[in-house]
């Protein structure tokens, strides 16, 4: 029996029938070339998405205008000229060949556009703070007409390229959304004023595109809630009404999104419970008759299954979960849920876009390498020489390395001294309520390791002598970081002491190190009690290794709880309840009831010294190589596995 009967029922968009209710949502990748041409890399990525089993596969947004005012990302693909049609056609072809319907998104980035210009176009000049954005210039009446025409011309090219449907985008600060929002539209002409007037650009584009492409369905993404109440954005009721106006103009499907990039509220981070935003889609669905869809934190299949069954949405859109695992639809249909490589909402993908890098995934290192055999997206070639490999440490680095090595045919034994896998992720997963999701990739890796034949030996403390007796061909040291120097002083607590062993923490706390671990400890403590926290950091800025999506949340909490940051400050000595430091204000002593060390070092003692006597090939990965984050551990493990 089908486990997700509502997800895996056919759906209808216009006159088209989809094989199921999953839509891979439009995702910028920065894989195309800087001049707007589709790359082999983008085609291979889209092919993987189409093979994954979704009913509809949406392309990334393509900018429609010649000047690049609509271009919001360095590697955004273009649909502003007929010369791009053949490349776009390659994407339509790979989607069709794999049984999905294709939707191409036409996207003028508006407030987030003009990436290579010195301005961006907006209905009115409303500046903002994010440094990525260009200074706004008010769009003229003739430029509005041109924007409408650009969308219509783009739609014609989309049809010629062979796509099944077209998607328009009016979300997060892109051109159409800036007209709809009262926050950014202060115009006094016919494109400004009440909601209907602010929707005029959208209506003209939908009607123009529909007239151009005939029977081809045209959908649109709009904001269901801008979350801009603090600066005069649309009311929830206005946003819902904008969907109704889009339907009236002829939209064949409606995709509901939440928040602008400038919203000062969490939307897609782990602190937002899964399925949280469905009530907004439901409000839209009640107001319209065409299919309604939504993405946003529906990472576990029972959530959209229930939402579709309950009539909140007609289709579920997937963006990050399918970046992490394009096979998500196939795996849930085939009962292989435990094998899903799970998105951890770290937003590494998202943040890469704003730094002119291709998207990257913490949990799927082969993202963007789907077309390269060596990266093993479709499986690895067996290694030329089968090796006996010992991996010491069952954290993310060791597990990922073991999984890849075993799939290549090596005989892999993994030792973990604890009775549970996960390494320091076991600790990190306790920082705040959402952090438990960090354990999902550990569970997947465990499943994939077992499936690949990795022998996992839990509760076995493996030392160099033991490795020596086993005499493997290769030894992988993935034991995690080492503590040394002042951190090893008597009475200094570790993150494990605080978060796992529940050691009593005093009122005044000194945390040494203001990186991700130090901030994580502070967040944990502030959630569990009242403390006066001082964070002592040698760097000038804390949290350099924390993703911006989480950093601002953490810092807001620190500010609220009056955490004291001592920047550019070095610890010189630790005594009983006293941390002596040297910083910009000279030699100071910080009094503290509890002193916690968050700075770690590469494994340099036991294994560095002894490893070469234990095995012919020795490798250090993850924190044992250099203490860093989960993305680095998983990527270290994967890359080593590839070459073993």
């Amino acid at each position: 029996m089908e486990r997700y009967p509502h997800i895996f029922q056919p759906g209808t968009i216009g006159k088209l029938v989809t094989r199921n209710r999953i839509k891979y949502a439009a995702t910028e990748t920065n894989f195309p070339y800087g001049d707007g041409y589709v790359s082999d890399r983008e085609v291979a990525y889209m092919e993987a998405q189409a093979k994954g089993g979704a009913g509809i596969v949406t392309t990334q947004g393509a900018y429609p205008d010649k000047k690049g005012e609509g271009k919001g990302f360095k590697g955004m693909m273009s649909i502003n000229d007929d010369r791009f049609i053949p490349g776009l056609g390659r994407i339509a072809d790979v989607i069709r060949a794999n049984g999905a319907l294709s939707s191409i998104q036409i996207l003028h980035c508006g407030r987030e556009g003009g990436i290579e210009l010195d301005y961006c176009l907006m209905p009115s000049v409303v500046p903002q703070k994010l440094s990525y954005f260009k200074p706004p210039r008010e769009i003229t009446a003739s430029e509005i007409k041109q924007a409408v025409k650009d969308h219509i011309d783009a739609a014609r090219r989309a049809k010629q390229a062979g796509f099944d449907m077209i998607e328009l985008s009016g979300i997060v600060g892109y051109l159409i959304s800036t007209f709809i929002s009262r926050y950014t539209n202060k115009r006094t002409d016919e494109y400004g004023g009440d909601l209907r007037a602010r929707c005029r650009l959208m209506v003209e584009i939908i009607e123009g595109v529909k007239a151009e492409v005939g029977q081809m369905p045209v959908g649109i993404r709009l904001c269901g809630h801008e979350l801009l109440n603090d600066r005069g954005g649309n009311s929830f009721e206005e946003s819902v009404e904008s969907f109704r106006i889009a339907q009236e103009a002829g939209a064949d499907y409606l995709s509901v999104t939440i928040g602008w990039h400038e919203s000062s509220q969490s939307v897609i981070t782990r602190d937002v419970p899964m399925g949280h935003w469905l009530y907004i889609a439901e409000a839209v669905k009640k107001a319209v008759d065409v299919p309604v869809m939504m993405a946003f934190r529906q990472f576990l299949p029972h959530i959209p299954e229930k939402a579709i069954a309950g009539g909140q949405i007609d289709f579920v859109e997937m963006c990050r979960p399918m970046i992490a695992d394009p096979e998500f639809p196939n795996k849930i249909r085939q009962g292989r849920e435990k094998e899903i490589v799970p998105c951890i909402a770290c937003n590494a993908c998202f943040s890469r876009l704003y730094y002119h890098q291709p998207i990257m995934c913490s949990v799927r290192p082969n993202l963007g390498h789907e077309g390269e055999d060596g990266w093993g997206y479709y499986g690895f070639k067996p290694a030329s020489k089968k090796k006996r490999i010992i991996i010491v440490g069952g954290g993310p680095a060791g597990l990922q390395c073991g999984e890849v090595a075993a799939r290549k045919g090596h005989e892999v034994t993994l030792f973990e001294k604890n009775d549970r896998l996960g390494g320091n992720v076991l600790v990190a997963s306790l920082v705040d309520p959402g952090a438990i999701e960090l354990m999902r990739p550990i569970a997947t890796l465990e499943e994939l390791c077992r499936k690949a034949g990795v022998a996992i030996r839990l509760g076995v403390e493996c030392d160099p002598a033991m490795v020596g007796r086993e005499a493997p061909d290769a030894l992988v040291v993935a034991v995690g970081p080492a503590m040394k120097g002042l951190g090893a002083s008597t009475g200094v607590l570790t993150p494990q002491d605080v978060m796992v062993k529940d050691r009593k923490i005093g009122q005044r706390v000194a945390i040494i190190g203001g990186g991700g671990v130090g901030l994580g400890i502070a967040v944990y403590l502030l959630r569990h009690g009242e403390h006066e926290i001082t964070i002592i950091d040698e760097a000038g800025k804390p949290g350099r290794d924390v993703n911006p999506f989480y950093f601002w949340q953490y810092m807001a909490l620190m500010k609220k709880k009056k955490v004291n940051f001592m920047k550019r400050t070095r610890v010189t000595a630790i005594e009983d309840r006293l941390v002596k430091v040297l910083g910009p204000s000279g030699d100071i002593a910080v009094e503290a009831d509890s002193i916690i060390m968050s700075v770690f070092y590469p494994e340099e003692e036991v294994w560095r010294r002894m490893a070469s006597t234990a095995a012919k090939e020795v490798y250090f990965i993850g924190d044992a190589k250099k203490p860093r984050r989960i993305i680095n551990a998983i990527h270290d493990g994967y890359r080593l596995g590839m070459v073993l």
Binding site: G34, S131, Y355, R628
Partner: protein, 63 residues
């Protein structure tokens, strides 16, 4: 893409070293140097460089 450092422009000020999430950048002979095996290709360093000596080698020209 691993960023490229223009050694002629780099003043060795250390700004990128402080910003680099995985700590992949060090100073060698007074110039910033990125360790390829540690770089996580986030690109955070490039906009922080005060003399614009760090470039992301984005492929511009399509077929």
């Amino acid at each position: 893409m691993i960023p490229v450092i223009d050694e002629k422009e780099c003043t060795g000020c250390g700004t990128c070293i402080e910003i680099c999430p995985p700590g992949a950048i060090t100073l060698a002979d007074g110039k910033a140097r990125i360790a390829g095996d540690l770089c996580e290709e986030c690109g955070f360093c490039a906009p922080e460089c005060p003399v614009e000596a760090i470039r992301i080698p984005f492929p511009i020209k399509g077929p």
